[in-house]
């Protein structure tokens, strides 16, 4: 059952609005979209794909740091700071906000606190990834159907 392009465009609009409204994405994501044009039609996809790779690697590294005995809190703090930066750069607002919560737990070497933060971070990342993959799928289908989106 294929949806026509108009329906897809409506779905895209609704989904994108929801992602902004629910705080998954912020204005920086819009800035990325503005930087995309005919000469760089896949710019947003490229940056986000890079971000996904980066995220998965950082999350894995953070988990490893917490498994060490004793846990490497300095390194976790460094990773959280790095991840905060890259998520801010792509407009991943909720991920960015969770990154900011690590610091006090790292400073007080609170293992439980850090583990809870990491769990939350993994969850937020997963939700964001699903949301963005769906967004890109809709865009792809619209393009394939001969439509366009801003």
């Amino acid at each position: 059952m294929t949806m026509d392009v108009n329906q897809l465009q409506a779905k895209l609009c609704e989904h994108q609005s929801a992602m902004f409204h629910q705080g998954f994405l912020d204005d920086q994501f819009s800035q990325l979209q503005k930087l995309q044009d005919e000469s760089t039609p896949d710019f947003v996809l490229e940056v986000v794909t890079m971000f996904f790779d980066d995220s998965e690697s950082i999350l894995k590294n953070m988990a490893r740091c917490l498994e060490q005995v004793p846990a490497d809190f300095k390194q976790i703090d460094a990773y959280a700071h790095q991840y905060k930066g890259s998520s801010a750069s792509v407009g991943a607002a909720r991920v960015k906000n969770v990154c900011a919560t690590f610091r006090p737990f790292c400073e007080t070497k609170n293992l439980d606190g850090c583990m809870r933060c990491l769990q939350q971070l993994q969850q937020e990342y997963s939700l964001l990834k699903n949301g963005l993959q769906y967004l890109f799928r809709l865009q792809k289908d619209i393009k394939a159907g001969g439509g366009s989106f801003s």
Binding site: L35, V47, M50, S89
Partner: protein, 180 residues
């Protein structure tokens, strides 16, 4: 050095984050800059022709002179927080270099730390941008580039003026060489 009729400015962007490099490159290219990106301050110095080791004092001045003809960078924009050499260290090295000190330097940082900002500006940075960098920030760059371009031209014309004055006011000097 041949001057192109249409000056396209060349910006060197330094950032250890791949995502931020992609972003800044896109932003700069949207403003019609030529862009080179590197992922560390050490690589930036190598690109600019400054060699950093025991041979610094002698070799680097030679190296930088050689490079001046090949590498023409009109502005350097660098992240502050980088492993190894920071953007601040890079700024200082550039301002200490005879051949590079006139290149405008802009610092970027994800953290809004007033003392950090002041330190950079005092060391000679033209601007300090908070990350994520926006189009509006990049739009502020052209005036700095125009200023340093016209500064170069002024210095050139002053040098020529002085030469002419010397000719006029020392009539007793015998010309040993034909005019070239």
């Amino acid at each position: 050095m041949a001057m192109a009729l249409e000056t396209q400015f060349h910006v060197l962007a330094v950032d250890d984050s791949l995502i931020d490099r992609m972003l800044i490159e896109r932003l700069l290219k949207t403003s019609s800059f030529n862009v080179t990106t590197v992922d560390s301050a050490t690589k930036a110095l190598k690109f600019l022709g400054l060699v950093e080791d025991e041979l610094r004092n002698f070799e680097s001045s030679v190296a930088s002179e050689i490079h001046q003809d090949v590498v023409d960078v009109n502005l350097i924009i660098t992240d502050y927080c980088m492993p190894g050499m920071t953007g601040y260290d890079l700024l200082r090295k550039i301002k200490e270099s005879k051949s590079l000190k006139n290149i405008p330097v802009v610092i970027m940082s994800s953290e809004n730390v007033p003392s950090r900002i002041n330190r950079c500006l005092e060391e000679g940075a033209e601007e300090f941008f908070l990350k994520p960098v926006q189009q509006a920030d990049v739009n502020k760059l052209k005036p700095h580039l125009m200023k340093s371009k016209s500064k170069e031209e002024n210095e050139e014309s002053l040098k020529n003026k002085r030469k002419d004055m010397e000719e006029i006011y020392s009539p007793n000097k015998t010309r040993l060489r034909c005019s070239s």
